[in-house]
Every structure is written in C-alpha cells, then in structure tokens.
C-alpha cells in the first residue's frame, strides 16, 4: 500500500511537470496549428533564469531574504520567456502561416541555436540552484513521505492551470482565442484580430514553459538539455489529449505521466518509454484525433 501511494505520488508529480510543459504546447498547437520544437528550450531558459535570479540575490540582497529568490524567479522566468516567445513569433512563426510541418522544422533550428547559446553563456557543465529552505524536507503521513518541493510544484501547476482556465474560458481574450481555434476565417470575419491572438497565445505558451523551467530547477541540475528530457513526453500528451480543450491536456499528461511511472516501477525506465509509446499508438487506433477535440465537419482537422 505504502509503495503504491509513493508510486502514485511520483506519477502525479511527473504528470504535473508534463502538464505544465504541455499546456503551452497545446494552446499554441490548438490556436496556430504549430508544434513548437523550441518549447523545450524555453523550459531550459526558465530554469536558467531561476539560476540567474539566485545569483542576483546572492550578490545584492541580504542573506535573510536569500530564500525569496525563488519566489521572484517565477515571474521573472515567465516574463523573460514571454518576451522571447513574442520575438520568436514576430520573426519566425508569423512567416510560416499554414505550413505546420515547416514551422516545426524552423523551430527546431531555433532550438539548436538556443541550446548552443546556453552552452556559450553558462558553460557546458550543469549548474545547480539551492532549493529554498522552506521547500526542503517533506511531509510524512503513515510512513509515506511527500517532499515539499514536489508538493510545491503540484500547487504551482494547479495555480497555472487555474490562470490558463480563467484566461481561456472567463476572459474576452480567451473567447477570441477559442473562436480562432474553432474557425479562423469566421473569427476574422467577426472582427477578431487573429494576428494579435496568435502573438498573445504563443507568448503565453512560452511563458508557461518558463514557469515549468522554474519548477525543474528544483529537481536537479540545469544544463542545456534539461528541457529535452520532458519534451517528448509533452508532445505525446498533446497528441493523446487532443487539442482545443484544457481537459484533454490535463488527462493526456496525467495518463502519460502515471503510465510511465507505473511501468517504470514494475519494469524499467527504458521499457516504460516503449510501453507508453505503444499505449499511445494503440489509443490513436480508436481515436486518431486524441481524447478531446472540438467537433467540426471540416475534412482536414
């Protein structure tokens, strides 16, 4: 029982990280039909920004407030990746309208550049952030230990999920966003500035990747490939969950995350990857468009 709960906790923890990286992917893919291969690098940038914030606090802020660097790092990482996302959208993505596969490749080129830039700036060796003291240790209930930093990450993910839900379903911008998602030409006819919606969506998606990077910084050392480890799983959960609905992304990433942890627990980490892939392919036999889709009558969706 104890082992089961621990596995479940680890599964949920991995799921929540995958969820945080895949929300951004899912909304950009839903609105713009673009798979951003550089998303993993935005995660990496977010993680490095946490490190930068820590260095800044170490240099300029009295030690008593040193722990608050992490609280400051989250909005900072969001802001930096938000701006970078806006620039990338302006320079590259906006030129690739209706060319889904080309945009995937172009963003891969961007990711090569960003990875090398990270290596040039921060060195090839990984860097570490010191987890703030209020996140060290864990909560022990009936012999099951739940570490605080993982609990914190889950709370952070829930918070981000709430924000995204609020933006998507309770704001006028979200309404425009969903309209563009469902039927772009019709939304344009109704006077929605779809260019602006695209820009905002892409930037918000990138910003969320930055926040995800912040949470990854708590779990291990940061190097230029830190985003890559999670990104394949995130892509898979977008495929599994379908695009256009937040529920799909949540269920998709929960399924991928728990499946890989459970499979890993009973077999090995490598077999787990194969099992998860197998499940996804099997699932797509039943529903080629993923769990949740916006129903439409058009042929090419």
């Amino acid at each position: 029982m104890q082992e089961f709960i621990n596995t479940l906790f680890n599964g949920l923890s991995l799921s929540s990280i995958i969820l945080l990286t895949s929300i951004g992917l899912a909304i950009t893919f839903g609105v713009m039909r673009i798979i951003n291969m550089a998303h993993g690098e935005f995660v990496m940038i977010g993680a490095y920004m946490t490190y930068v914030m820590q260095q800044i606090f170490n240099a300029f802020v009295p030690e008593a407030f040193g722990d608050f660097y992490y609280i400051a790092a989250i909005p900072f990482a969001f802001f930096v990746t938000f701006i970078l996302g806006a620039i990338l959208e302006k320079l590259v993505i906006s030129r690739l309208y209706g060319r889904e596969i080309d945009s995937l490749l172009a963003t891969w080129g961007i990711s090569l550049i960003l990875q090398q830039a990270a290596r040039s700036i921060f060195g090839a060796q990984g860097v570490n952030v010191n987890a703030p003291s209020f996140l060290s240790g864990g909560l022990t209930i009936n012999g099951c230990t739940f570490s605080y930093n993982r609990l914190f990450i889950m709370a952070l993910v829930l918070f981000c999920l709430f924000i995204v839900w609020f933006i998507m379903y309770r704001s006028s911008f979200g309404c425009q966003m969903r309209a563009v998602m469902q039927n772009r030409p019709m939304a344009q006819c109704m006077g929605i500035n779809s260019r602006r919606v695209d820009q905002m969506t892409f930037s918000i998606g990138s910003g969320l990747a930055g926040v995800a990077g912040c949470s990854l910084a708590l779990l291990g050392s940061i190097d230029s490939a830190v985003g890559q480890n999670y990104i394949v799983n995130s892509f898979m959960s977008v495929v599994l969950g379908g695009v256009g609905r937040l529920t799909g992304t949540v269920l998709g990433s929960t399924a991928i995350g728990s499946a890989s942890i459970f499979a890993e627990n009973y077999t090995s980490a490598t077999i787990a990857k194969a099992i998860v892939l197998f499940i996804v392919i099997l699932f797509l036999q039943k529903r080629p468009q993923g769990l949740f889709t916006i129903r439409s009558r058009s042929l090419d969706e």
Binding site: I101, L105, Q116, V232, K273, V280, P288
Partner: protein, 365 residues
C-alpha cells in the same frame, strides 16, 4: 528533369575521381576519402527521406532508427567476423555464456544482408500500417515517429549485453577486411566504389519510382490527400509502402556507413541525428532527388571543415541559422534557388530596365 541526371553524373564522376586523386597524391589524407564514403551513405539516406518527405509530404523525425537498424545489422556481422564467430567481450561482461539467438543470423553474409532489408521493413511496415490506417497525419505522425526513435534509443542502451549499450559496436573492419593503412588501400577502394554503386542504384530506384505513376500518386497525396482518397486510391497503402521503401533505403545507408565509420553507436538513432538528416534534405531541396544528395554532401563537408577546433561552437549557430533561413525563405532549398528563385530574380531585373514600354503598351490595350 534531364538536368538532374546530368548533375548527378557530374557528382558521381567527381566522387569516382577521389580515390584516384588520393593515389596520385593530390589528396594527402586517406581519412578524407573515408569521410566522403560516409557522405555517400548520408546521401543515400537523404534520398530515402526525400522520397517520403519531399514527395509524399510525410515528415519522419525518426529515420535515424532505420539508419541505425541497418548499421547494427551490418556491424553485428562484421563483429562476428572479427571475433571468428565467438561471443564478444561485452556479452561476457553482460553475463552471457553463448551467442544469443538474435545474433545467430549474422554469422553468414547473405543472411545478414537479408536482415538489413527485412528488419527495418517489418518495423516500418507495422508502424506505418497502424498509423496511416487511421489517417494520423501531419505533425501527429512526426511526433509519433520522434517518440518511436526515442523509445528505440533507450531500449538499445538498456539491452547492453546484446548491443553494448552506449558504446555501441566498435572495433570492426569492413566487408572486405581492413581498410586502414597504406597496405590495405585496395580494400578501401573496393568499399568506396561499392558504396558509390549503391548510391547510383538508389538514385536510379528513386528516379524510377518517382517518375512512374506511383511517384505521381505520392505527389498527389502530398498536395491533396482527400482528393486522392476520393479518386478511389487507398492512400494509406501507398503511404505505408513509401514509408517502408524509405526505411529500407535508410537501412542500406546505415550498412554502408558502418563500413566507413568502423563503429555504430546508439547516437546514430537519436532524435537530433534524425532531424539532422531532414536538414540535409531541406537545404539541398526537397522534392528533388538530386537536391537531397547535394544537401547531404554540402552540409557534411561544411561540418567536416568547420567543426574542428575552435569553430565547434559556432557551427551549431551556423547550422541552426541555415536551417531556419532555408525553411523561411527558400522552400525549395538550393535546387529551388537555382531553378526558380534566381531565374525569376534575373527576369525581374531585366523587366525593370524595360519596364517603361511594356507597361504603357498594356495600358493602351
């Protein structure tokens, strides 16, 4: 279309001259010829990738897997040749006492060569059948092919008693024996010309299949999949067949590659290696077989010359930028640049100088 063949002939002639130049002393290092041999393998896999991406419009981000499958099949045979059919060191370390079943077919050459074709064909056939049957397409397929490579990579590392994990299969010679050193130069030439012949055959196969009705259908699928469906063609079968064909070509390329490289490692089946192959095709020019070959040679020769020493860091920036710029502005790659963009640019310049009279006459009409 004829121009393509002429261009290909020129490339083949230049390549064929390489060993002769080495023999005459114009090229000093034999490693250069070995490297060009590897480039031939890359050109072969690029042709296969072009068949499925440039012609059929399916972007596979997992061709490194098939490349490595062919490479491993070849390397397993060569390794057994090197050990004389005995079990290898890494199997000893992995705790195996006799040759595992999976290695047995690689004891003799004809069976190994059959395996180079059969294993990737089965893997790609199954994947292709199940994925294309349900009209999973576009980026969805790309993501799944990427995940497939990712899973296969970790499996190859995990099964280290059978595959030697991260290190891969090393210390192997070629199909005709050692090619290192001056004594064995004849062997090197045999392998080199053998690879060249395989490249010519692959080119002929690709040209043949794209110029027949089959090739036209692939283009039809790329440009209007639903229309092709409604015209009564079973699109998924054609897609699967094209996918299998390109996987087998990639495997053959892998087998050629091993002969020149002297080892095969799981890094040849990573996602980034697979996408590098896509970069070759994109830069050379998708949708033209010759473009794939040119792209593979140019990118690899640039990398060979630039990525040594202090330029390693800069190379990553360069390749990333080249790729992004190609995708953004030169959809047809180098071939498209020469064939379409430069002629239109020149005719625009010409029109500008004669702009006055034609515009006026049009208005008058």
């Amino acid at each position: 279309m004829k121009k393509q063949n002429i261009c290909f002939t020129i490339i083949v002639l230049i390549l064929a001259a390489m060993p002769i130049l080495l023999q005459l002393g114009f090229i000093t290092a034999s490693s250069t010829v070995l490297f060009i041999g590897k480039c031939i393998a890359f050109a072969i896999v690029a042709m296969g990738l072009d068949l499925i991406w440039g012609y059929t419009g399916i972007l596979s981000l997992g061709h490194g897997l098939y490349f490595a499958l062919g490479g491993y099949a070849m390397a397993m045979y060569l390794k057994l040749q090197a050990t004389g059919g005995q079990i290898t060191d890494f199997m000893h370390i992995g705790g195996l006492t006799e040759l595992p079943m999976i290695w047995k077919p690689f004891l003799n050459l004809p069976l190994s060569i059959i395996m180079i074709f059969v294993i990737p064909a089965i893997v790609s056939g199954l994947i292709g059948y199940f994925i294309f049957k349900n009209r999973v397409k576009g980026v969805y397929f790309s993501i799944i092919s990427q995940a497939l490579t990712w899973a296969a990579y970790s499996i190859f590392i995990a099964l280290s008693p059978y595959t030697n994990g991260n290190v891969g299969i090393t210390e192997i010679q070629t199909i005709v024996g050692s090619i290192r050193g001056d004594k064995n130069r004849m062997n090197m030439f045999i392998v080199f010309y053998g690879a060249l012949i395989i490249m010519v055959l692959t080119y002929a196969l690709c040209r043949f299949s794209t110029s027949t009705k089959f090739g036209k259908l692939l283009i039809a699928i790329r440009d209007g999949e639903n229309r092709t469906y409604f015209s009564g063609y079973q699109v998924s079968h054609f897609k699967t067949f094209a996918y299998v064909l390109s996987a087998v070509i990639a495997a053959v390329a892998g087998a050629v590659f091993v002969n020149f490289n002297g080892s095969i490692t799981p890094s040849q089946m990573t996602i980034s290696y697979s996408i590098t192959m896509v970069i070759w095709v994109a830069v050379g020019g998708r949708g033209t077989i010759i473009g794939a070959i040119i792209g593979a040679f140019i990118i690899n020769l640039c990398e060979y010359n630039l990525s040594s020493g202090s330029l390693v860091d800069i190379w990553q920036y360069i390749i990333g930028l080249i790729f992004v710029i190609t995708i953004l502005f030169f959809k047809g790659g180098l071939v498209g640049l020469v064939r379409e963009q430069i002629p239109t640019f020149i005719s625009k310049l010409k029109n500008k100088s004669h702009a006055e009279t034609p515009v006026k006459s049009k208005k008058g009409a």
